[in-house]
């Protein structure tokens, strides 16, 4: 109970509320290829603002980080941050009933925290224990909760009602957040998020530039990529859902239309 400071109940209520909202929108079993986007005008506005912030601040910082910090150092920063995420991974492995994955996550933490010197290195991966990302958004997806609808968060970028609610929940799986909250060391969580963001961005500089250059509706492309990627993550990369590709898939009149030409 010591862990529950005064601020927490309010935040928890918000998280719980968001969860209910997600559950209400959920359509278990179905997996539409497109994500609903009722907030599109607002989302596009935030997306444009994010792009401006990215161009002036985040991308230059990420480029600087990538070009001036040596490779091994950046790898260690990433390994260290990832090792710290173990509680979130473990909780979600268990919640999804995936005991094998929980075992891998546990062993990875043990190996990397010891032989890997506090998580700075990832010897576990070389032993065949590959990391698999999990979060509460994926856990909800695993149990058939749909994404609800698309949300572009300021600075944080693409998300969905389900995944944003999931982030709230994941916050409570991480003991470091409790520690930071209880000891008034908010800078720990903030700087961690900043470094993680810069690191992630530094790995997608060319890819994102190229997607922007080659698309005719960058916003719609990112929305589609986000949704497909999340669906794939929920399935843990197995058996991608394939659309039925025949000339009747869009509607019944399609075949006749195709034959007429």
């Amino acid at each position: 109970m010591q862990l529950l400071s005064n601020a927490r109940p309010a935040r928890f209520a918000i998280a719980a509320g968001a969860l209910f909202a997600v559950a209400a929108c959920a359509t278990p079993g179905s997996e539409p290829s497109q994500i609903a986007d009722p907030l599109e005008p607002v989302n596009r506005y935030i997306f444009a603002a994010n792009l401006a912030i990215d161009t002036t601040l985040i991308e230059p910082a990420a480029t600087f980080y990538r070009d001036f910090v040596p490779d091994p150092a950046r790898e260690s920063v990433r390994n260290f941050l990832r090792n710290l995420e173990t509680p979130i991974l473990l909780a979600n492995d268990v919640l999804q009933g995936d005991i094998d994955a929980a075992g891998v996550t546990g062993r990875r933490f043990f190996i990397n925290s010891t032989i890997g010197i506090l998580g700075l290195f990832d010897p576990a991966a070389e032993m065949g224990l590959a990391r698999r990302d999990e979060d509460f958004g994926q856990t909800m997806g695993h149990y058939g909760v749909g994404p609800g609808f698309y949300i572009v968060l300021p600075i944080l970028g693409p998300s969905s009602l389900r995944d944003a609610a999931g982030n709230f929940v994941d916050y409570y799986f991480d003991p470091l957040n409790y520690y930071a909250d209880n000891t008034d060391r908010k800078y720990i969580t903030v700087s961690r998020a900043v470094v993680r963001g810069i690191d992630a961005r530094s790995r997608t500089i060319e890819t994102l530039d190229e997607i922007e250059r080659t698309s005719i509706d960058f916003y719609a492309t990112i929305r589609s990529l986000y949704h497909q990627r999340r669906q794939s993550d929920i399935r843990n990369g197995t058996t991608p859902s394939l659309p039925k590709l025949d000339l009747t898939s869009d509607d019944a009149d399609d075949r006749t239309a195709a034959l007429k030409q």
Partner: protein, 207 residues
């Protein structure tokens, strides 16, 4: 007695025929899968050759790449799927122009993507049948990094094997294109002409 033996014999023949038929069709399926895998592997080799060939101009390379794309991919069909439900709304003239614009768009898009190539190799892992298509699972192997999983959806049609979709780490290029095009058309008030305009602009800017 005689009748009994006849029945036994008939049963034996039936089992034999069934067994042969089954193993034959299994073999045929295996053969189809093998040749589809080979098709993807060969295409990968060809792409590699285009890339490593020195002493060629930017134009020559683009031309070789365009040939490779039209050989390996069913671009008209992909374009048709990418337009989704709006195909039906388009006039025959619009459809004709769209198919041309789409091919140019894809070639320039993928030519840009090719610039990022830095010595990875494509390894075919396995294949399986989905509907009437074959999915060839492959990995792009990168030095010191986790391999990227790429699934090729291949259709064996009138013109032999053709790729109809590429799924990279669970993300379908075809679905992405379809979502993007649908968004452009919806923002143009449901008018296919809005998409054609954007494609024309894009192709002109890149050529």
């Amino acid at each position: 007695m005689m009748a009994d033996r006849m029945i036994q014999l008939r049963r034996f023949v039936l089992v034999l025929v069934a067994a042969t038929t089954f193993s034959l069709s299994a073999a045929a399926q295996q053969a189809r899968a093998d040749t589809t895998e080979e098709f993807i592997a060969q295409l990968g080799d060809r792409a590699l050759q285009v890339l490593v060939q020195g002493a060629q101009s930017e134009e020559q390379r683009a031309e070789a790449f365009r040939a490779l794309l039209s050989d390996g991919f069913d671009l008209p069909l992909i374009g048709r799927y990418a337009l989704g439900r709006f195909w039906r709304k388009a006039t025959p003239a619009q459809r004709g122009e769209y198919v041309k614009l789409f091919e140019d768009f894809i070639v320039t898009t993928y030519a840009a993507r090719l610039g990022e190539y830095s010595g990875e190799t494509l390894q075919v892992v396995s294949s399986r049948a989905v509907d009437s298509d074959t999915i060839v699972v492959s990995e792009i192997v990168r030095e010191g990094l986790q391999p990227i999983r790429v699934d090729w959806r291949v259709r064996n049609g009138d013109h032999g094997f053709k790729i109809v979709d590429v799924v990279v780490e669970g993300v379908s290029m075809l679905l992405t294109q379809r979502d993007e095009f649908a968004s452009v058309i919806q923002r143009a008030g449901g008018d296919v002409e809005g998409l054609l305009d954007r494609l024309r602009e894009k192709n002109d800017a890149q050529n």
